[in-house]
């Protein structure tokens, strides 16, 4: 889901409705945290009291792919779990976005070996990449804000 038509042609009302829907969608993010490895610790830190994610509206993780709209892939993906990740991505309903959290999901990190997927964008489409090993919570919040900007600019009505 990455249609990036900015300012759809149409009347005043469709662009206003687009804006309102974008505003609603970006401030009520339900994430599915697919946590595998060390980045999960920084995800926990970001979600908790010190660097709160709830103030951005993204504080409620839904642990079912059918009820969430952002798939946060946190931590290294090995070839054994890759089919599971793809299945979870396909079980999510539109509109959905994917965040690659941590450098192991962006490009594979320094695990260039027989067991690791070198970047999850070889399997599923990714919207925001948050590099870092593990990324600091401030980086995660920066990535979250970028995701919110992307959601706002998207064409909301199909």
């Amino acid at each position: 889901m990455s249609e990036e038509t900015l300012n759809p042609t149409g009347g005043f009302f469709t662009s206003k409705i687009n804006e309102i829907l974008g505003w609603a969608r970006k401030y009520s993010i339900f994430q599915y945290p697919f946590v595998t490895a060390c980045c999960g610790m920084e995800y926990m830190s970001t979600a908790c009291a010190h660097y709160d994610m709830d103030r951005f509206g993204a504080g409620l993780p839904r642990f079912s792919p059918r009820q969430s709209d952002v798939l946060m892939v946190v931590g290294t993906i090995s070839h054994k779990i890759a089919p599971v990740l793809k299945e979870i991505y396909e079980q999510m309903t539109e509109p959905k976005w994917v965040v690659a959290f941590g450098v192991c999901t962006c490009t594979g990190g320094f695990y260039d070996n027989y067991a690791t997927v070198m970047g999850i964008d070889t399997i599923i489409p990714v919207d925001v990449y948050i590099p870092g090993c593990p990324p600091r919570p401030e980086n995660v919040l920066d990535g979250l804000i970028k995701l919110q900007e992307k959601i706002q600019k998207q064409k909301q009505l199909v």
Partner: protein
């Protein structure tokens, strides 16, 4: 000290940096391990670790390709011991220790997965860390580190 008590079964021994080590023949492994576990003189009640080493590219190494390494620990006597067994490449079979210590179950599955050494008498020898469709044994020295066998997605 332990080598004198087990004399006859021990092929060689050393004491590098204080770690007592004995090398034992494959056929007498079960007997030696049983004695180490049950004899009140030794009482090695914990099997700490079980793994293998592939000596294919070790310079100036003569002898069989694989070596099984067992680390034992005795809580009552606070003693450690390392037991090694030489394993030939062609047969690659070692008796399983699951009868003595149930801990050996998963360790031996991992050695089968990573090195391809079979354990006779193991209840259920199958892969543990890699997926079943994987072909080959990754920790062997002749398996290239980058050779991927992806289930989905591109090859590299």
């Amino acid at each position: 000290m332990i080598t004198e008590k087990l004399a006859g079964k021990v092929l060689s021994s050393h004491d590098f940096r204080g770690d007592e080590t004995i090398v034992v023949k494959g056929e007498s492994l079960l007997e030696v391990m049983r004695r180490l576990k049950e004899d009140p003189e030794f009482e090695f009640n914990i099997l700490m670790d079980l793994s293998a080493v592939d000596y294919l590219t070790f310079k100036e190494h003569s002898g069989p390709r694989f070596e099984m390494v067992y680390h034992l620990y005795s809580i009552p006597k606070n003693q450690r011991l390392r037991v090694k067994v030489l394993v030939e490449e062609k047969t690659a079979e070692v008796p399983s220790l699951t009868g003595l210590w149930p801990a050996a179950d998963w360790y031996e599955r991992e050695v089968w997965d990573m090195f391809g050494i079979r354990f006779t008498g193991h209840p259920d020898l199958k892969r543990i860390l890699m997926y079943d469709e994987f072909v080959g044994h990754p920790l062997r020295k002749d398996y290239p580190v980058n050779k991927r066998q992806p289930l989905i997605g591109p090859k590299n």
